[in-house]
């Protein structure tokens, strides 16, 4: 073999998938419609909130708030996002181990948008042979119109996709008007145009190249497969028989005729290959390019139905089932992922449901650690950070406990009204009367501990929501320092 016959770089061969009808095609079309309805319409859904934006789903980055229906996510709750991502990852492991590349075949946006673009292509240019003919034809009026119309519609779909994404990050009606009048932020135009460009290139031009060469998930999902995982497979035993597959020919028209001659049920019509969006032949076995879209099942079932032969020459099955064994669904791996998935989901839901309507933290000001006052008293200062998480005003009261003789001085701000979603930093001073003289005789090995205990005392701050809001008060113990006795 020489390098000429085996080039290091491969020219891409255009794929012209044929359309197909069937139950999986219907399922995919249904999921596509559902996903698009959510994605394209959700930014326009209004949701009445007092003192906050009225958009049902809004990721307000400048305001540092994410609004999702009745849930408002603050910056410090963003770890929920990490939880979501973990759950998504475990869910992917769980589903892939059980049913193969379901995500790729039915839900991935690359699959969905490629599907949409192929539908447009099919609608304008016609079926597979017509498209192939058009591509080979010289540039004439018809080709110009058909190609121009396809690209135009693709561009429109890409632009709407990019715009819809942008609308999640600002008030949708205002942003659309602002963009039309040219006064929207640069980021809005950039995001829209960037996503328009990537959608057009990925769904219109790159297509299966994304899954085959770019997508890391496509590659590592096969690592989650085992012998019980559902895969889309050609039943080689039935299709090939003992003599291999053969087209319908003289004396090979019925199953009985074929079986007596040792010929399999596959009539080599090539329909399963023609409908494949990634351009593979499923009859060659499991391949990394296969996104498990199940369209070849629909194709083969159509042919089998026409021949009035049983369906399922290409079907969802497992390696074990193909070898005549029983598929085991409850594997330790599946159970393990299931348990982790349930635990992680429960933890996230618990965290969201039990979220506090406000939070407050107390931090000692350590420079200086303490202040000696003119009457001999000792003062420590603290910074209190309050955050109202509600979209309504809230009254917060602050008091102290657990330090004998101590008084709290906040210049009358022991009780403050926080505006909706307001964050506020307050200064608190705690003062105790003159400290008694320490016992100078304390000595021995405990001397250092004794000294530390004398210097460091504690005070507990209690921050509570008042006036109608019921929430657990926040108690925080912080150090209170007195001068060294030496």
């Amino acid at each position: 073999m020489s390098e000429d016959s085996n080039p290091l770089y491969q020219k891409r061969i255009q794929i012209y998938p044929r359309s197909v009808k069937g139950r999986f095609r219907n399922l995919k079309t249904g999921l596509l419609a559902l996903a698009y309805a959510v994605y394209f319409l959700l930014p326009w859904l209004r949701w009445e909130r007092p003192n906050a934006p009225d958009q049902a789903v809004l990721y307000d980055l400048p305001g540092r708030h994410f609004y999702i229906f009745n849930l408002t996510i603050q910056v410090q709750d963003l770890f929920w996002l990490a939880g979501m991502l973990m759950i998504a990852a475990i869910l992917l492991f769980f589903v892939t181990g059980l049913a193969g590349r379901v995500w790729c075949g039915y839900f991935c946006f690359q699959t969905l948008w490629t599907d949409l673009y192929m539908m447009i292509e099919h609608w304008v240019q016609g079926e597979r042979p017509a498209r192939m003919r058009l591509d080979k034809a010289p540039w004439n009026r018809e080709k110009l119109i058909k190609k121009g119309m396809t690209y135009g519609l693709w561009l429109l779909a890409a632009f709407w996709t990019g715009l819809s994404f942008t609308l999640y990050w600002a008030d949708a009606p205002t942003l659309v008007v602002d963009m039309l009048l040219g006064r929207a932020p640069h980021a809005a135009y950039f995001t829209t145009l960037f996503l328009t460009a990537t959608t057009f290139v990925m769904a219109g031009l790159a297509r299966e190249q994304v899954c085959t060469y770019m997508c890391p998930y496509a590659r590592f999902q096969s690592a989650m497969f085992d012998h019980d995982t559902l895969i889309i497979s050609y039943d080689e035993r039935r299709g090939e028989g003992t003599q291999s597959r053969t087209k319908l020919g003289k004396g090979l028209k019925t199953r009985d005729e074929r079986q007596t001659q040792g010929v399999g049920d596959c009539i080599d019509c090539g329909y399963c290959v023609q409908v494949c969006p990634v351009g593979i032949d499923i009859r060659n076995g499991l391949q990394y390019q296969c996104i498990s879209c199940a369209l070849c099942i629909d194709a083969c079932d159509t042919i089998m139905d026409n021949l009035q032969w049983p369906r399922g020459l290409i079907r969802y099955t497992s390696e074990k089932a193909l070898n005549g064994k029983k598929t085991q669904l409850l594997k330790p791996k599946t159970i393990g992922y299931g348990v982790i998935l349930t635990a992680a989901t429960a933890a996230l839901i618990w965290s969201v449901v039990t979220r506090a309507p406000y939070n407050g933290t107390v931090e000692q000001i350590r420079q200086p650690l303490y202040t000696q006052l003119s009457d001999g008293g000792i003062r420590n200062s603290y910074e209190i950070k309050l955050n109202n998480k509600l979209t309504a005003p809230m009254t917060v009261g602050i008091r102290i406990e657990d330090l004998p003789g101590a008084t709290l001085d906040m210049d009358g701000m022991e009780r403050v009204v926080l505006e909706p979603q307001e964050r506020l930093k307050l200064l608190a001073r705690v003062q105790i009367p003159p400290v008694d003289a320490k016992d100078p005789e304390s000595s021995g090995e405990h001397e250092k501990d004794e000294k530390d205990r004398n210097r460091r005392r504690t005070v507990t701050f209690i921050i509570e929501a008042l006036e109608g809001i019921t929430a657990k008060p926040i108690r925080q113990e912080v150090p209170f320092y007195v001068p060294d006795s030496d």
Binding site: E3, N6, Y9, V273, P368, D409, P434
Partner: protein, 318 residues
């Protein structure tokens, strides 16, 4: 087989190799890369060259390629308060200044600053939002201008620079008084009594002063000291007052409280040591050692106002 099947690997059913062989049987698999991938790689190489010309890049001798990129930002002159538009070559420092000007919360900051500028001291100190603003801006101003002497938290340095966090104010702790101190500065002075009083008299005065804050018990010596303090011999009462509580217009210290700004009395264990440090102090007085500079020419009136409130709340805001 259909013409839609692309992969030559599948057609042949065998794995492609590059044709290279080592040790006569070791072969290298060939998984051809898509051609467009190669073009993308060339694209990134070309992009990196364009990048050099836009951003600062290669070192050349003692300098470097500066790049065509520029950043424009607005800077406010501290003395005149005028905003100036400036443009500089691309650098991260200018980028930071640009970001600060463009920051989403900048309008809020400017509105708050305007509010604080027009509000009275009493209004500021009662408003939680304004106080939060003053504390965050004041901390920066204090750190830049005051912390060198008074310490980052205002704790001062015993004997040298006053502690601003306690409730003892030599020149007055009201915000108007602090503003006065900031604008014109202060100069602390106490005569050196070593030239006026005899050593035993100094000793007696020291003992008397210690009784004022319960550091010593009343004695014959302290009574003699009292006569010197309150009489014409020492004349201490001129500045410190007959009740020894100090006079803020003179910057004279209150001698009856527990705070010792200069002579470190509380740190001494015996009466003898306490008297020694105090006597040494009275002997030498304060001359050209306690000087607060005037800030009227260095800080804007707004900055001084912000600092006055900030320093006031450090000391307990009473």
């Amino acid at each position: 087989m259909s013409d839609n099947t692309l992969n030559t690997q599948q057609q042949s059913g065998a794995v492609q190799t590059t044709g290279h062989a080592w040790d006569s049987d070791l072969q290298e698999y060939n998984n051809p890369l898509p051609r467009w991938w190669l073009w993308c790689f060339y694209g990134t190489a070309i992009f990196s060259v364009l990048y050099w010309f836009f951003y600062p890049s290669w070192p050349v001798g003692n300098s470097w390629i500066k790049g065509f990129g520029t950043v424009s930002y607005t800077i406010t002159d501290k003395a005149t308060g005028k905003a100036q538009e400036r443009e500089s070559r691309w650098n991260t420092r200018a980028l930071l200044l640009e970001d600060l000007g463009d920051a989403a919360n900048d309008p809020q900051r400017k509105a708050m600053l305007a509010k604080v500028q027009t509000a009275s001291y009493d209004q500021i100190i009662k408003d939680p939002k304004m106080m939060a603003f003053v504390r965050s801006v004041g901390k920066g101003l204090f750190g830049d201008n005051c912390a060198a002497c008074h310490g980052s938290g205002g704790g001062g340095v015993a004997g040298l620079y006053p502690n601003l966090t306690d409730d003892d104010w030599l020149w007055g702790g009201g915000m108007d008084k602090i503003q006065e101190t900031l604008v014109n500065g202060r100069k602390g002075f106490m005569p050196a009594f070593g030239a006026v009083l005899k050593p035993e008299q100094l000793d007696d005065v020291a003992e008397y002063v210690l009784t004022l804050s319960d550091e010593a018990k009343s004695s014959e010596a302290s009574e003699r000291g009292k006569a010197i303090f309150q009489g014409q011999v020492g004349g201490c009462y001129y500045c410190h007052g007959a009740d020894a509580k100090g006079v803020q217009s003179q910057g004279a210290a209150n001698l009856t409280d527990k705070i010792w700004a200069i002579a470190n009395v509380p740190a001494q264990k015996t009466l003898q040591d306490k008297k020694a440090v105090l006597t040494a102090f009275i002997t030498n007085g304060v001359n050209n050692t306690r000087i607060m500079p005037a800030w009227k020419d260095r800080l804007s009136p707004t900055d001084i106002k912000l600092l006055a409130v900030y320093v006031h709340q450090l000391g307990g805001a009473k």
